[in-house]
Assembly symmetry: C2
Homo-oligomer: 190 residues x 2
């Protein structure tokens, strides 16, 4: 009697994995696959997982979200500064909620009294195994940002209606941020 194998029911089998490049935050791997048509290689980023935070703040202007303007060197020829929600990579052995609290303070200067899960998702499953956990962050106290030396971030409070208009206009055009904001909006949390 044959024992079941983890690849039963899958249309291709991963034969081997080799690392092409190891960066600071992730690894770039090549996988050899055996399919019904033969063997082929595919490449992608092996990632430890990440969090995205939706910090919610009630102000005199009404309910706001905290957005960042973040420098992204990979975009365009010279890099671009884009609007995003705060986010960050899980450190080895770090519980996901610890990452969430840590990244919120590091990137925005706000400490949250509690987090509410907004789900988790694959960011780009054709390119990486990255899973991202999304949380709304409440009970915010400003304690001062602690950016890492390689981060170039400015922080802004934006009313919810403006954040939604920025998504519609394509000015807030970062997938993880759109997922978190539209999920919270649909659930009546914004």
């Amino acid at each position: 009697m044959e024992r079941s194998h983890p690849t039963d029911g899958l249309p291709a089998r991963v034969l081997a994995r080799r690392t092409i490049h190891t960066g600071r935050k992730f690894r770039f791997d090549a996988l050899s696959l055996r399919t019904t048509d033969g063997e082929r290689e595919i490449c992608g980023i092996r990632h430890p997982g990440a969090v995205v935070l939706l910090p919610i703040l009630d102000t005199q202007e009404g309910r706001c979200v905290v957005l960042i303007r973040n420098f992204r060197p990979l975009l365009g020829d010279h890099g671009k500064v884009i609007w995003e929600l705060p986010a960050g990579t899980i450190e080895p052995g770090e519980p996901v909620e610890v990452t969430a609290h840590r990244e919120l303070v590091e990137e925005t200067g706000y400490r949250a009294s509690h987090l509410a899960p907004l789900g988790r998702f694959y960011t780009t499953p054709g390119m990486t195994d990255e899973v991202m956990w999304a949380y709304a962050a409440y009970g915010l106290t400003h304690v001062g940002a602690k950016p890492e030396p390689d981060e170039f971030i400015t922080v802004e409070q934006v009313p919810v209606s403006r954040a939604l208009a920025m998504i519609d206009a394509g000015d807030l055009a970062d997938a993880k941020s759109i997922v978190a904001i539209l999920t919270a909006h649909r659930r009546g949390m914004l």
Copy 2:
């Protein structure tokens, strides 16, 4: 008088770019950056851009969306089959709407009579420059799928309420698909 430079106002300058690996669909690059703290290297995927399609179909069961189950070799140790919307990479010189019509037929077997734009976004700006254009696809006629040899896809019609429940349950957990579905839902298109 100094002339303006494209990097004016940016916190770091891209000094050089070298390609570490060239795959079939994208390239993996390392960039040398000069920042106020010195020089450092960051890596990421250079991507030609992509489309994601939200095919909308009125059936006897009510309004449905067409989802695929897609084998993703990079996920987990052996690859995983996950729910997604159809999507694909822009070929060199191809207009984006041509990619959208082509990928819809290739992956689902449906031809659309027209597309309605749902915006565009960066999929994972810390990892790649990929921009994804989202479209709702209407007026669908089944003409038969034409998967590429490296694609392992099955196609299903899912009622809108079920697709939203799958997002809430984490069963439809692909960021581009969530962005397209929640955007269309918020605009009253679903």
